[in-house]
Symmetry: C2
Subunit: 224 residues, 2 copies
């Protein structure tokens, strides 16, 4: 059962990371934060919680050459980098994955998004993106908590080995634990924790809600 905290908005998170370190599984650093503070800020935050899972959410979507240049700036400070499945393997994600492999880092690929505009092109591309993912075999996949069906499809197509991360819990409307029930490994929560007056209490409450829902759905799905 996993909980990652999204740190997107430019700001100072050293204290927050220290407080949340023992209570969550990792942190997802957004492009606005990394651009505003510089890639080295990821290293500074990591020193507050070294053993967590650190993910650079660059949402890369370019040719391989440019994605490698961008990922290379932050790779030393994180465990994984996020890119879009939309750009395909050849000349793009394939090159990025080889590069990250050579650094001992992991690639996480967006399979689907949950905002309304995703209906225009992204949703229709899902079958093709799933084919891309099957060929590429990235370490992780992003699939939204608001679309548990997509989480389930990714799990069935890529098997138990892939790490599935689901944003959309909290401010975007999905209940804590709902993506875990659908097969995700991590739920990504941003503003519901970082925007809370008491982020530690918020994280602990979300943990409890994840556990409650997960024990419920596992009970149901296994008939026990």
């Amino acid at each position: 059962m996993g909980l990652l905290v999204a740190l997107d908005r430019p700001g100072g998170y050293e204290e927050l990371v220290g407080k949340l370190c023992s209570r969550v599984d990792g942190f997802k650093l957004g492009l606005p934060l990394l651009m505003a503070r510089g890639p080295g800020y990821a290293g500074l935050l990591r020193r507050r919680c070294r053993d967590a899972l650190w993910v650079a959410d660059l949402k890369l979507a370019d040719i391989g050459y440019v994605m490698r240049l961008t990922a290379g700036l932050v790779a030393e400070h994180v465990d994984a980098v996020i890119a879009h499945g939309f750009v395909g393997v050849e000349g793009a994600l394939g090159e990025l994955k080889d590069y990250l492999d050579s650094l001992g880092k992991r690639l996480v690929v967006v399979a689907s998004m949950s905002h309304p505009g995703a209906r225009e092109a992204y949703d229709h591309a899902l079958p093709r993106i799933l084919e891309t993912l099957e060929r590429l075999r990235p370490w992780g996949v992003v699939a939204p908590a608001t679309r548990p069906g997509v989480v389930g499809i990714v799990r069935r197509r890529l098997g138990p080995g892939v790490a599935i991360m689901s944003p959309g819990v909290g401010a975007q409307g999905a209940e804590p634990g709902s993506a875990l029930c659908a097969g995700a490994d991590y739920e990504i929560v941003g503003r519901a924790i970082t925007g809370s007056g008491d982020p530690v209490e918020a994280a602990e409450r979300i943990r409890r809600e994840q556990e409650a829902r997960l024990s419920n759905c596992r009970g149901t799905s296994h008939g026990s």
Copy 2:
């Protein structure tokens, strides 16, 4: 007839921008450069060539909230920001466009890419991305020089008012002038200029090749 120089690789470009200023129409700043040097570096470069067209090639592909945060970091230093058409209007590009409009800045949207991996999902989404562009009516569109057919489709669908920018000239194989002949306003050239031993001579040569090809294709297409 337009020529934009792509500055993608992290590095110092103050001198280069000053030398090229009177010879090109503008500069496209890549995400690796802006992440490595910080958004303020765009302002520092701009002071070397204030009246050129400055484009932040962030290749944004996220929900509106995150794209606005990212674009807001660099908007004051540039004229336009690039985002991906595949994320759609609602909750994404629509919010970004409203935000940029409020700042007096322009949105440029990627309609198509030219690397081989674009065949996997991006190409199939073109009809839907064109619908997104027709609804959104961005100031500019990116369509690759290596796919002149796509440049022509964008021009016919969005009319004479949209600014079409075409990467892929030079290192990626398209001849200077070929995208202009297909209907583009600007060709984007990176390594063929920045990687040249004499960037000024390279830019002037590309200008001449653009002019030659353009007068040829215009002569042909107009039968004069």
